[in-house]
C-alpha cells in the first residue's frame, strides 16, 4: 500500500510516504514539504484506501450473489445493480442534479442501484419466494431496460458530458476524498461482516434450496436479506467509484479455484484479494500512460480476463461444478 501511495504522476520514495503516514496517524515526526504532504496525504492515500474498500466490496458482493442465484456468472452487473447506478449517474451528469431533487452523481448512482435492486427483487419472486433463475432473468431484463434508457440519455448529451459519462461508467477512484471515506468504509466493513456471518447458511444453499431447508436454513429469508445487503454494498461502492466491472465476477472465482467454496473462507479472502487487486489496478491506471490516467474498468478486465482464462484452463474440476 505504501508503494501504491508512492507511485504516480509524481513518484515519492517509500520512506517519505511512511513519514507522512506516521505523522498523520500518530502526530509524531514532522513533514516540512507541503507539496509532498499534499500529494501523499490529500490525494494518494484516500485514493488507495478507496480502491481497497471498493475492490473488497465488489468482490464480496459478487461472491454472495453467485451463490444466492446459483449462477457462476452472477455479479452486480448481471443483476442490474450497475446499470441502475449508471442511469442515475448519467441523468445527473447530463441534466444536472436539479432535475433529480438535487442529488449529486454519487447519490443518484446509489439511488439507481437500489431502485434496480428493488425492481429485480420484486420481479424475481414466484409464489412469494425468490427463485434463483427468475432473479437472474429479472436482473438481466431490468439491466437491458436501464441500459437502453442510459443510451437514450447519452444520445442527447453534449460531447463534454459524454466524456464525463464515459469516464464515470468505466470507473475511477481518482475523486477520492477523506470526507467520503468513513461512510463508504463503514458500509463495506459492516456489509462484509454481515454477509460473512451468513457463511454457514450460504454453504448450505450450495446443496440446493430443499436440502438447505432440511438443514434448518430459512431459505427465503436468507436470500432476501443477502440480496438487500449485497445491493446496498454494491450501490455504495459504485456510487463513489463508478461502474467497475469484472472484479465481482473474477475475484470470487479465483479464491474458489485456489481454496475451495466454503464461504467462511471465501468471503473474507475475496474481500482481501479484491482490495489488493483494485489497488494494483489503480496503480497501473495512473502509471502506464503517465501523466494521463486510464479508467479502472478498462484495466480490471484487460488484466484480469487473460489471467482468469489461464487459470480456468489449468483447472479441470470446474466444468463439472
Amino acid at each position: 500500500m505504501v508503494l501504491a501511495i508512492g507511485i504516480g504522476a509524481v513518484n515519492v520514495p517509500a520512506g517519505d510516504v511512511w513519514t507522512v503516514l506516521v505523522h498523520h496517524a500518530t502526530g509524531r515526526g514532522a513533514v516540512d514539504d507541503i507539496a509532498l504532504d499534499q500529494i501523499v496525504w490529500q490525494f494518494r492515500t484516500p485514493r488507495v484506501v478507496l480502491a481497497a474498500v471498493v475492490g473488497a466490496g465488489l468482490a464480496v458482493a459478487g461472491a454472495v450473489l453467485q451463490t444466492l442465484v446459483s449462477n457462476p456468472l452472477a455479479d452486480p452487473t448481471v443483476l442490474g445493480f450497475s446499470h441502475g447506478a449508471s442511469l442515475g449517474a448519467v441523468l445527473v451528469i447530463t441534466l444536472g442534479g436539479a432535475g433529480l431533487g438535487g442529488l449529486g452523481v454519487s447519490g443518484a448512482a446509489f439511488a439507481g442501484a437500489l431502485l434496480a435492486g428493488l425492481l429485480v427483487f420484486a420481479l424475481g419472486q414466484r409464489r412469494g419466494r425468490l427463485a434463483p433463475t427468475r432473479l437472474v432473468l429479472a436482473g438481466v431484463a431490468v439491466g437491458y431496460v436501464l441500459l437502453s434508457a442510459t443510451s437514450f440519455v447519452q444520445l442527447r448529451a453534449t460531447p463534454t458530458e459524454l466524456r464525463g459519462v464515459m469516464f464515470w461508467m468505466l470507473g475511477s477512484v481518482s475523486g477520492a476524498r477523506w470526507s467520503q471515506l468513513p461512510a463508504v468504509t463503514a458500509v463495506v466493513a459492516i456489509g462484509t461482516a454481515l454477509l460473512a456471518s451468513f457463511g454457514r447458511r450460504l454453504n448450505a444453499l450450495l446443496a440446493g434450496d430443499e436440502s438447505a431447508t432440511s438443514l434448518g436454513v430459512d431459505v427465503h429469508r436468507t436470500r432476501a436479506v443477502l440480496l438487500v445487503v449485497a445491493a446496498l454494498l454494491t450501490g455504495t461502492v459504485i456510487a463513489v467509484a463508478g461502474g467497475i466491472g469484472f472484479v465481482g465476477l473474477m475475484i470470487p472465482h479465483l479464491v474458489r479455484l485456489a481454496l475451495g467454496a466454503d464461504h467462511r473462507r471465501l468471503l473474507p479472502l475475496s474481500a482481501l484479494l479484491g482490495a489488493v487487486y483494485l489497488v494494483l489496478v489503480d496503480l497501473l491506471s495512473r502509471t502506464v500512460d503517465r501523466p494521463n490516467e486510464l479508467p479502472l474498468g478498462i484495466l480490471t478486465a484487460l488484466l484480469g480476463a487473460p489471467f482468469f482464462l489461464w487459470l480456468l484452463r489449468r483447472n479441470k474440476g470446474l466444468d463439472a461444478a
Binding site: S197, R200, A207, S211, L215, G216, V217, D218, A261
Partner: protein, 257 residues
C-alpha cells in the same frame, strides 16, 4: 423418534396434492412410501422436513408439531437426503458432510470437537472417509449418495427422510445404501420407486395414490395383488420366499387388464 402425520392436506397453488393423509412410523422402523409418479410422495416428505406448510393437519416428530418449531430446531432431529443440488457448488466431500452440523450452530458458531467427531464418524460409517478431500462433482452416483447420507447422519437425526435415495444407482450401490440405512437404526421414512427393493428393506409400507394413503401396514398386507393392479396398473404378487425375503413377482403379461 416416532413420526405421526394426521389429517394432512396440502395444496399447491389451487391444486390439492395430498388429502387427509394419515401415517405413523414407530421409533427404529423403516417405512417405505410408495406410489406411482405424481401420487404426492415427495410432497408428503416436504411437509415432514418443513419445506411446505400443510393447509391442514399435523406432522409430529417425537410428539412435537414440527410446524410449531423453528426450521433450525426441527432440523436438529430430522435430516433429509433429497434430489436437488447435484453438483453442490464445488464443496469437497468433507465440507458437504460438515453441512449437516448447520442446525447445531448459531450465527457465529465455530466448529467444535463435537462437530468434528460427528462429521468423522458419519464419513467412517458411510465408508467415504478416503474421499474426504475430493470434489463432490467428481464422484460416482453411489459415492455421492453415500456422502449425502453421511451429511444427514452428521446432523445427528432421530428421523431420516429419504427421497429416492437409490435412483439412478447400479444394483450393488442400491443394496449397499439401504444396508447402511438399516445399520444406522434411525427411524426412517423413505420414498422408494423400486417396489422389490421397498418390499425387501422396509418394515412397513404406505401406499399413496392420487394424494391419498390408500394402504398402510406390513409389506404383505399393503401390497395385495389387487392394490398392485389398481394403484400401479400391473399384475404382480408380493410373496415371502423360503429364505424369509419378500419379493415381487410380475406376471407374464404385467399389463393384462
Amino acid at each position: 423418534m416416532r413420526l405421526t402425520v394426521d389429517g394432512l392436506d396440502i395444496t399447491l397453488g389451487a391444486t390439492p396434492v395430498l388429502r387427509d393423509v394419515v401415517l405413523d412410523v414407530s421409533p427404529g422402523q423403516i417405512v417405505g412410501l410408495v406410489g406411482p409418479n405424481g401420487s404426492g410422495k415427495s410432497t408428503l416428505l416436504r411437509a415432514v422436513y418443513r419445506s411446505l406448510r400443510p393447509a391442514a393437519g399435523v406432522v409430529e416428530v417425537g410428539g412435537r408439531d414440527v410446524w410449531r418449531l423453528s426450521s433450525r430446531a426441527a432440523a436438529r432431529h430430522t435430516a433429509a437426503v433429497l434430489q436437488d443440488g447435484a453438483g453442490a457448488g464445488g464443496l469437497t466431500v468433507a465440507e458437504t458432510v460438515a453441512l449437516g452440523r448447520t442446525p447445531h450452530h448459531g450465527v457465529l458458531g465455530r466448529d467444535g470437537e463435537g462437530d468434528r467427531r460427528a462429521v468423522a464418524e458419519a464419513m467412517e460409517n458411510c465408508g467415504i472417509a478416503p474421499l474426504a478431500d475430493r470434489d463432490l462433482s467428481s464422484l460416482s452416483g453411489g459415492e455421492r449418495q453415500r456422502v449425502l447420507l453421511a451429511r444427514a447422519l452428521a446432523q445427528a437425526p432421530e428421523l431420516l427422510v429419504l427421497d429416492e435415495l437409490t435412483n439412478h444407482l447400479d444394483i450393488r450401490a442400491r443394496f449397499e445404501l439401504l444396508g447402511l440405512i438399516r445399520k444406522t437404526g434411525v427411524t426412517t421414512l423413505a420414498v422408494l420407486h423400486d417396489l422389490d427393493l421397498a418390499a425387501r428393506f422396509c418394515d412397513r409400507l404406505v401406499v399413496l395414490h392420487h394424494g391419498r394413503a390408500v394402504a398402510a401396514g406390513p409389506v404383505l398386507d399393503a401390497l395385495t395383488p389387487r392394490l398392485l393392479h389398481e394403484v400401479f396398473g400391473v399384475r404382480a404378487r408380493a410373496e415371502r420366499h423360503p429364505d424369509g425375503v419378500i419379493r415381487i413377482t410380475y406376471e407374464a403379461d404385467p399389463l393384462a387388464p
